[in-house]
Symmetry: C2
Subunit: 102 residues, 2 copies
Amino acid sequence: MTDASHALSALADPTRRRVFERLAESPASVAEITRGLTVSQPAVSQHLKVLREAGLVTGTPKGASTVYRIDPAGLGPLRQWLDRFWDAQLEAFARVVDEDKP
Amino acid sequence: MTDASHALSALADPTRRRVFERLAESPASVAEITRGLTVSQPAVSQHLKVLREAGLVTGTPKGASTVYRIDPAGLGPLRQWLDRFWDAQLEAFARVVDEDKP
DNA sequence: GGGATGCATCAGTCATGACTTATAATAAGC
DNA sequence: GCTTATTATAAGTCATGACTGATGCATCCC
């Protein structure tokens, strides 16, 4: 029902959102991600851990470094959750229209 | 670009999400919302303020009470933001497929 | 008008989490 | 093998924000 909660709380943080947006452009290592930000490397690793546990990104070891990429299925639950309210809104609107009938 | 940030941080909180979900079913007063939860009335008012400032709900005074309802346009930016990554993912996939060609 | 109800704001408490530096662990290159 | 590079974890600090009770302010009803 609300497995979107993980995605929501993960993406609520601005820094974590920037990490996610960075990976949306192309896969990158932790060092590469860190270069684009103003926080330390451990901070980036911690953010990546949260994003990983939320199913939003995946990390695959590549030699000494680890390449992170977006998990395509990660945003699914959030999208679904959002659509529920979209539908609910349409229902509510239909209800109001219905009440206007004699 | 990321006006979705307000919506994200607003919906990241579980209690606030429950308030939002409650209003998705039907408009309600603050007292009615509070009845469905386990937090105090001031807490609900504070959550409603955040949701209001995020453009997710609207409150209209009705006599002594205030009726809150979902703002249909509120989730728009968040949906749009989400779709950006959906598209980016498709692009990335197309790029990979392209690279496989001789 | 006076009491009651419904909501918002104030002030204060407390937990969570975002960040830091330091350090451990693993892999690559000389 | 030893140094260097890359990442993950540990420990600690600090700010933010979610909650509470108390209070102010309207509005309705008698």
